[in-house]
């Protein structure tokens, strides 16, 4: 019986980890098989949901419009997004929006190898909408929780010297040499920022 392909979940990840997710793979040889980036905390991602501050937009296209957007998370790390003729709605948002603004973005991770061999990770947007600060703050805490979930699973899976049973954790230890401590730090930094804003508005205003 034919069943509709299940929709891919949108992962929550801070930019520091996302930009490290340079390894991509598919689960089958089918040419329509979804492409995943491997998050260094040991999870595959075919879609992400990010909320942050749009700080800059620029038309980097040569012949046709091709918009680049920089979306910054609480750590000051940047998600790069690119929208062209195949993402007309998102391109229109980037064209029209006056930074800075809080935006929510759903999209697909894409990797791109530069001439000097570095791999850049960016987001091909499915939608970009302007949202308020409360939505941004909720995303920060949610993304922190999901990242901690992944870190805990990573640590459990790699705790004893036995073979790692979790498929994507095993893949992450294989493909990357990136300590998950980096991403725990990113979580703490993001939350301390949110905590300061929420708890000491007076002090933060200085």
């Amino acid at each position: 019986m034919s069943t509709a392909p299940t929709r891919e979940v949108a992962r929550r990840v801070f930019a520091r980890e996302f930009n490290d997710a340079t390894y991509t793979f598919t689960e089958s040889d089918d040419e329509r098989a979804p492409v995943y980036v491997l998050l260094p905390t040991g999870q595959r991602a075919n879609r992400v949901f990010v909320v942050g501050t749009l700080t800059e937009t620029e038309d980097v296209g040569e012949d046709a419009e091709y918009w680049q957007g920089r979306v910054v998370d609480p750590n000051g790390d940047t998600f790069f997004t690119y929208a062209g003729q195949y993402q007309p709605d998102a391109a229109a948002v980037l064209r029209d929006l006056e930074p800075p603004a809080y935006v929510a973005m759903v999209g697909k991770p894409r990797t791109y190898e530069t001439d000097d061999g570095d791999v850049n990770v960016s987001i091909r947007p499915e939608s970009i909408t302007t949202v308020d600060e409360a939505t941004r703050d909720r995303w920060v805490v949610e993304t922190a929780e999901r990242t901690l979930d992944r870190i805990e699973r990573f640590q459990d899976a790699t705790a004893d010297g036995d073979a790692v049973t979790d498929e994507y954790v095993a893949m992450a230890t294989e493909e990357y040499d990136l300590p998950v401590e980096n991403y725990r730090r990113a979580v703490v930094d993001a939350l301390e920022d949110a905590d300061t804003e929420a708890g000491e508005p007076e002090a933060a205003a200085d």
Partner: protein, 312 residues
């Protein structure tokens, strides 16, 4: 477990195999007795095990078994494992359009405890189930897909109509997440006006009744995503109006001014995508039907998460 109970089970199993195997009720009872008394296996498991043994001996498939009415009659909410043979008394709550020729009927059965999807295979050659009718169904098999249970009717299923009506219980679920997609078929749509049809028109055509003068309706097919799971949510007209603050008449005017019905869905995307919502309602197949929707707007305290992050 008394001996008479075991004897009853043994007789039921014996009856199922009597015409295929040369066994006695005592043989069956001995096997059950061994499993239950010596191996301390629950009687339902013992029954499964013994039945399997005889199936192997007879070279039969499980679904070829004649039923002696030996299944447990369960309620919908109690279905919690796949591949169990059960009896159900339930009302046909919904009949859906089968998406495959292999399926004769598909829809929703309900009893006091909730609802469950059912599938009736074309090759099973069973009588048609009528909407709103209560049936006692003997010998249906449970199945599971992505944590959701369903029952399948098969060649051996016996269908009896019941006179008494049933109050179908609701099984509301609550889902929280970011609205990450508003799918095509959302916004201002037209439905087929034919009696009992209500299909959504594609380019002014109903897949059943061809070109018709459609009736306007508002709907959102949205996707809530919490970073772990996705839930497809349908907002009907009332839910859509409550969520967007835009009423049907207003939406029609918007479309008229823009000479494009698509503008309504576009506006909804701008207004709703990327925000967090809590939605409560019953599930229908893979969809959650929104009865109550609330935007999650209250501030979230980062402190507990910060403590967790520091303790890792």
């Amino acid at each position: 477990m008394t001996e008479t109970d075991l004897r009853t089970h043994a007789e039921a199993i014996h009856d199922q195999f009597a015409d295929r195997l040369d066994i006695t009720v005592e043989d069956v009872e001995d096997r059950l007795e061994t499993l239950v008394s010596e191996y301390k296996v629950p009687v339902s498991e013992a029954r499964r095990s013994v039945t399997n043994t005889y199936l192997d001996q007879a070279g039969m498939e499980r679904e070829e078994l004649a039923t002696g009415g030996g299944n447990e009659t369960v309620q919908v909410a109690d279905v919690d494992a796949p591949e169990e043979w059960i009896d159900l008394t339930a009302k046909v709550v919904e009949l859906w359009e089968p998406r495959s020729d292999a399926v004769a009927q598909v829809g929703l059965l309900g009893d006091e405890t909730g609802t469950i999807k059912f599938t009736k295979w074309a090759k099973s050659d069973l009588p048609a189930l009528e909407a709103d009718q209560v049936y006692h169904l003997r010998n249906v098999v449970t199945d599971e897909y992505q944590g959701r249970f369903s029952v399948k009717l098969n060649r051996t299923t016996q269908i009896e109509e019941r006179e008494a009506d049933l109050e179908v219980g609701d099984q509301d679920v609550t889902v929280e997440g970011a609205l990450v997609d508003i799918q095509s078929g959302s916004g201002l749509i037209k439905r087929c006006p034919e009696e009992g049809c209500t299909r959504v028109l594609q380019n002014g055509r109903c897949s059943e009744h061809g070109e018709v003068e459609g009736e306007f309706d508002l709907r959102i097919k949205g996707v809530l995503d919490d970073g772990e799971e996705v839930t497809e949510v349908i907002f009907d007209q009332a839910a859509t109006e409550a969520l967007t603050g835009t009423e049907l008449e207003e939406a029609k005017e918007m479309a008229m001014d823009a000479l494009d019905t698509g503008i309504v869905a576009d506006e909804m995307r701008d207004q709703l995508l990327g925000r967090y919502y809590r939605v409560t309602g019953p599930t229908m197949g893979r969809y959650l039907l929104a009865n109550e929707t609330e935007q999650l707007h209250e501030p979230v305290d980062p402190e507990p998460t910060l403590i967790r992050a520091r303790s890792i």
